[in-house]
Homo-oligomer: 247 residues x 2
């Protein structure tokens, strides 16, 4: 397993109320997997200071990186930057680097107190570019603070990614279960999983019109080990398919 | 605020790898909001016993209900039921009630060891019907254990919902910010939020072709208080709109 791990913290009442359907978790998950970073945990918390600070401290101490989304706009419910400062015990104030980039979008007289809230950055943080609406994200220690709006978050992720340590990429192989029910191949698959311990093997049912369509996914960083396990799974599925009609 | 609270625990490597994009969090969030249950936290953890047990115990002690999704199929990576039993410190074994409902779908001789894993239910749990593929979910104490496949999860949620305590429904009002940027109304909105403390007020930017389209959402259980806050927000937005062109 890679030594580079991560968690995501999604901040926002609107996700917990169901009003906004999160699109960031799946995007970041796939992005990290492709970068060789193991996403190990996700949490969603409300716009409540003690919840945010508690989750930041729990997760940043446990994983190589913590990615947060949401709560860095100009309104009263945007409290993420202050919570990060509190979690780290560092001061927070208007950052002149942030003001400079925001002046590319706003006139000086448009930078009212609310908009200047978006330039409040905890001491010691590095900025993360926001090519879309300019107000920056930031990285403090191992915590990466990004916007909640998906296209801004995605641009920030591209900007910060080159600064991150990455591990060996996880390789994945998918074996189609050829119409077999999980209950048919579960025993054989469990035996293969027990034998090929460096490979993580999952079975994922999905409904399609007309019934189940199951897929077996193998994941690991050692290509030879992955291939050996894949061969065993293909053999298992083929053996069972020839035994019985694929219903 | 309602006294009825909840958390969701999503269990599965496939969500953390990004291979499967979760569709359950948003669905359950909206469902609970409509039922008068406050969703306060969500976590996603991998198929690892100590992570699952730890999260179950952290969340079930903190909230009225904990809803879990995923990990109750027949394969070796389906360990949720065992983790729930371990979290509660109760035995787990094949449950004859579960076998009975599974016999509506499977012939007796098709109930091999793997499929019988889906009939393993912790002692003391009540079953949750699964009209789609029969293998049941269950409720033990305040923990509701459901499948990860969305249409099965949704059917299980409908089945278990009538057994749950619910609070007063949260009412919501949305005020369109009429093309105003968040930075224009943030100060006024913060003042309104500080004045109307029983109403939760959020501002949500969204990109659309041609620019931002911001919405201000007010949420609360007291209709009169909500209406007063809404009136104040509408007044704020109208006042600012007449001051300047809506760009």
């Amino acid at each position: 397993m890679s030594e580079v791990t991560a968690a995501i913290l999604v901040i926002g009442d609107e996700i917990l109320s169901g009003r906004t359907k999160d699109k960031n978790i799946g995007y970041i998950a796939e992005y990290l997997t492709n970068s060789g970073i193991d996403l190990r945990e996700v949490r969603v918390v409300p716009d409540v200071e003690e919840e945010i600070v508690g989750a930041i401290n729990a997760l940043r101490q446990r994983y190589t990186y913590l990615f947060t989304t949401g709560g860095i706009g100009p309104t009263h419910d945007d409290i993420t930057a202050d919570c990060v400062a509190k979690a780290f015990g560092v001061p927070i104030d208007i950052d002149e680097r942030a003001v400079t980039v925001m002046l590319e979008r706003y006139k000086r007289e448009e930078l009212n107190e609310a908009r200047l809230r978006m330039a409040r950055i905890p001491a010691g943080a590095d900025l993360i570019d926001n090519p879309i609406s300019k107000a920056p994200g930031f990285m403090l220690g191992n915590v990466i603070v990004m916007a909640g709006v998906p296209n801004i978050m995605q641009a920030m992720l591209d900007n910060v990614a080159p600064r991150l340590k990455t591990g060996a990429r996880v390789l994945a192989r998918t074996v189609d279960a050829a119409g077999l029910g999980e209950g048919i191949y579960a025993a054989g698959l469990g035996a293969i999983a027990a034998e090929h311990t460096s490979v993580s093997i999952g079975s994922y049912p999905a409904f399609q019109s007309g019934g189940f369509r199951n897929q077996i996914v193998l994941r690991g960083r050692d290509e030879a080990a992955l291939e050996a396990a894949e061969k065993a799974v293909i053999g298992l599925v083929q053996g069972l398919s020839s035994d019985r009609a694929p219903v």
